[in-house]
């Protein structure tokens, strides 16, 4: 039993807890910064990497320079879209670290604790679904934000100019999704192991 409790070193649990807290602080700061900058006089900008450089016309108050499309008088919808765009991936990262910390905490009670495969499956699902959804939300919010700034908007053009791919491509990781699937499969195997262990309990 003693070796079981030492299977997960407390240092590792503390490290992941610390990473989670740091990511949470970063997320809260991002949220706070976004809320603070609400109102007239604050720019709402979206990075277009010059993909929209030739695009005209822009709506009044919108500028397109340096690979950024900015609105000098953003409305509530634009500010909301920008907020979603900025926090989608950090929120996902934060959720993953929280699940990882919870998983390690559970496993530190003993690798055969019944909750270990349950939390592991949850983490796997989060990685698989969130790994696709978070970058997708980030891209869609950017795309809708661009739509509010220029009348020259067409999904086909965005695709052609590469705006759609770069937003998604930069955040999406196929490896992350694969890791999620592997974790789901491994959680199933662990669950069988936990059941087998349970059967052995009370055996003389």
């Amino acid at each position: 039993m003693a070796t079981e409790t030492k299977a997960i070193k407390p240092g590792l649990v503390r490290l992941v807890n610390l990473l989670f807290l740091l990511s949470l602080v970063a997320l809260v700061l991002r949220l706070g910064f976004a809320v603070q900058n609400v109102g007239p006089g604050f720019l709402t900008c979206v990075d277009t990497r010059d993909a929209l450089a030739p695009i005209q016309p822009l709506f009044p108050g919108v500028t397109n320079s340096g690979g950024r499309l900015c609105d000098a008088s953003p409305d509530l919808e634009q500010q909301f879209l920008l907020l979603v765009h900025r926090i989608a991936v950090p929120a996902f990262t934060c959720a993953v670290l929280w699940f990882l910390a919870r998983w390690l905490r559970t496993a530190s009670k003993g690798p055969f604790d019944q909750q270990v495969p349950v939390v592991m499956r949850g983490l796997g699902r989060l990685l698989t679904v969130g790994g696709v959804v978070a970058p997708l939300v980030q891209y869609l919010s950017a795309a809708y934000l661009i739509r509010t700034m220029t009348s020259f908007y067409d999904w086909r053009h965005l695709t052609t100019f590469g705006v759609v791919p770069f937003e998604f491509r930069e955040s999406f990781s196929f490896t992350l999704v694969l890791v999620g699937l592997v974790m789901i499969a491994f959680a199933k195997i662990m669950r069988a192991g936990v059941e087998m262990r349970k059967d052995l309990e009370g055996t003389v």
Partner: protein
């Protein structure tokens, strides 16, 4: 089928020990099973018994598995 973990098997270790004038700790020593595990078996709290343990118990107590374990149908 009884619920999982429940059973109707009676362990008659007490009787066998009494007949042979042997203590539980001495039996544990001879069989090579911990006293705690043997107590679990004696008190009917064991969920399963290994064939190897059963073999050693039968050897030491000079009995058959049926002398040690009996099925007691539930009262209706």
């Amino acid at each position: 089928m009884p619920p999982e973990g429940e059973h109707e098997i009676e362990v008659r270790l007490d009787e066998l020990l009494e007949r042979r004038g042997m203590t539980l700790s001495r039996l544990a020593e001879l069989v090579g099973v911990t006293l705690v595990n043997l107590s679990v078996l004696k008190n009917g709290r064991a969920r399963a018994i290994r064939f190897s343990t059963l073999t050693k118990l039968c050897e030491v107590l000079d009995c058959q598995p049926g002398d040690l374990l009996t099925y007691r149908p539930p009262e209706r």
